[in-house]
């Protein structure tokens, strides 16, 4: 049986008249990485703040590893590692002192265990070169890594990361995603991000919210299937086509939408849009050969999560 490490039921939170989170259900099992998506002000951070116990929901229940967050907050919080938005830290402290402080607060009171975890963090998160430097002197990327390290210091079962790769360079982002993938097998991880390629790269499930409401909660693959049925096949040919040729090609390629555009003398683009199952490559190629066209390039344009995100969040 799968174990739900996070279970939130009917979460509601308002600030005055503004409804930030409106009846959200969310459960995360061990081994899952949830990508939490939504436009700015959608309620992502508010939901994360409620899951970590920083904010109390107006209505609803949150269970962390089966523990009621409201009635046993200290026990529940112990199971969570949290990187708040902007990765706040005590800038006057050295990296080692800061991580040691968080470790002790997280219950690592055995010196040997604390030291082991600290050296693991220095190694795993690549913090060795800044280990004894004050946090205020570090680059944004290093500060973010320190934030990740403090969330991981006690090896929690649950990780809640608010924009973990913000401010990292491409190499650091790649490393961070690999780290998340590596540790995800025995943890439940929730990541909020604006970078949709990140969701595709590391998340097993995507949750999209807008205006405080949950709009999608699907595996990333299902989401693509469900919300983007139309596919685009792009062909580039090294011929300039006359208007009559374009008309002929359009009528012979009997698909929902065919766009033909002369880009220059030796380059013409043909875009075919239809349901995926209707796009038959053999049929396309045979027709194009009939028109004696020199095909330079032929690619399927995969539906991007960006398109899906826009489609879902702008539905209403």
């Amino acid at each position: 049986m799968s174990i739900k490490l996070i279970e939130a039921k009917n979460l509601k939170k308002s600030f005055g008249n503004f409804i930030a989170v409106d009846d959200i259900d969310l459960s995360v099992e061990r081994g899952e990485v949830i990508g939490f998506l939504g436009p700015n002000g959608a309620g992502k951070s508010t939901t994360m703040k409620m899951l970590t116990g920083f904010l109390e929901p107006d209505e609803g229940k949150i269970f962390i590893d089966g523990i009621d967050l409201k009635s046993k907050p200290l026990e529940a919080k112990q199971a969570i590692g949290y990187l708040p938005e902007g990765a706040p830290s005590y800038s006057d402290m050295e990296v080692s002192d800061f991580l040691s402080f968080v470790g002790k607060m997280r219950g690592l009171d055995n010196n040997e265990l604390l030291e082991t975890r600290l050296s693991n963090m220095a190694e795993q998160i690549n913090l060795k070169e800044v280990w004894h430097k004050p946090i205020e002197t570090l680059s944004k990327g290093f500060k973010r890594r320190v934030g990740i390290a403090q969330a991981l210091i006690h090896d929690p079962d649950i990780l809640i990361l608010d924009e973990p790769t913000d401010g990292l360079d491409p190499n650091q982002k790649y490393e961070m995603r690999n780290l998340i993938k590596k540790i995800s097998s025995n943890k439940a991880i929730v990541i909020s991000t604006h970078i949709l390629e990140e969701v595709e790269a590391v998340c097993s499930r995507t949750v999209i919210i807008a205006n405080g409401k949950l709009l999608a909660n699907e595996t990333t693959q299902n989401l693509t299937k469900k919300f983007n049925k139309k596919n685009v096949f792009s062909i580039k040919v090294a011929n300039e086509l006359s208007n009559s040729q374009i008309k002929d090609i359009k009528s012979s390629l009997n698909f929902k939408k065919v766009t033909v555009k002369n880009l220059d003398i030796t380059d013409t683009s043909i875009l075919i849009e239809d349901e995926k199952e209707n796009i038959n490559l053999n049929k396309i190629m045979t027709q194009l050969k009939k028109h004696k066209l020199d095909i330079n390039e032929a690619t399927f344009i995969k539906p991007s999560l960006d398109d899906i995100f826009r489609k879902i969040t702008q539905q209403k």
């Binding site: 907050p73 112990q78 708040p84 005590y90 402290m93 002790k104 607060m105 997280r106």
Partner: protein, 248 residues
């Protein structure tokens, strides 16, 4: 209980070391020693009085603390809220009371260090004459308790804002009101329109009248109880305010 104290101590330790990580500690200690000595010798006319006591030294403490305690305490919560570390702190497995108490004791111990550094003046007065050391000891103790009350008030008020300067100003103004509450000018103004019990309550809240009694050599348990109660009350309000204001 042990676990409670353990977490409180970790907070206390981080906070206290924080004072010494920046030049704040040395600047504060220097300013405190310079001002307290300056006021004692120049404004208090320590030598001209020709008496072996520290009345001239302690008399200025309420006024010194009015400025210096808000300077120490203004960052306690305002800075946590400004930098966002309050979110980190309050998602750790720790209670609000552990956070408030740990932070307060760190700042209070820091003021004890400042007071202890002023003890050469106690040695000096013993070298020059035969002072009543019991009165001096009680004065030191009461001074530290009064500093604690100023700090608890500042800590409490610093939760109301993300701006340290605003925290400093509102704490100083509130402290000033608490000092002035015992002045006859204030009391006679209040007496003219308020019932006697209100006048007496306001009078009894005065830091200055409580502190002056001790300096005159009157060891009054009610003074110690007053300052301790003020500390407990302010910290209790502080705990509630942290809960209310944390996400603003």
């Amino acid at each position: 209980m042990n676990a409670y104290l353990n977490k409180t101590f970790i907070i206390f330790d981080r906070e206290l070391r924080g004072y010494f990580r920046t030049p704040l500690a040395s600047i504060f200690l220097l300013v405190f020693l310079a001002l307290s000595s300056g006021m004692t010798f120049f404004l208090g006319r320590f030598f001209e009085r020709d008496q072996a006591d520290l009345t001239a030294f302690f008399a200025w403490h309420p006024w010194l603390f009015l400025i210096l305690m808000p300077a120490i305490g203004m960052r306690l919560w305002a800075e946590e809220r400004r930098s966002g570390t309050i979110e980190l702190l309050m998602t750790l497995p720790v209670t609000n009371s552990q956070l408030v108490v740990g932070k307060f004791f760190a700042s209070w111990l820091f003021t004890l260090i400042a007071l202890l550094l002023s003890t050469p003046i106690w040695i000096t007065v013993n070298y020059l004459g035969n002072p009543d050391n019991n009165v001096i000891f009680i004065s030191y103790l009461t001074s530290w308790l009064m500093a604690g009350a100023f700090l608890a008030l500042t800590s409490c008020l610093s939760t109301l804002t993300k701006n340290q300067v605003i925290a400093f100003i509102i704490s100083s103004i509130s402290g000033f009101i608490l000092i002035m509450a015992g002045f006859s000018l204030v009391l006679s103004t209040v007496r003219s329109w308020a019932p006697i019990w209100i006048t007496e309550t306001i009078g009894s809240m005065s830091f200055l009248s409580h502190f002056s009694r001790v300096q005159m050599g009157v060891f009054d348990l009610s003074t110690l109880i007053f300052f301790v109660s003020m500390i407990i009350l302010c910290l209790w309000i502080n705990i509630q305010l942290v809960q209310i204001k944390k996400a603003d």
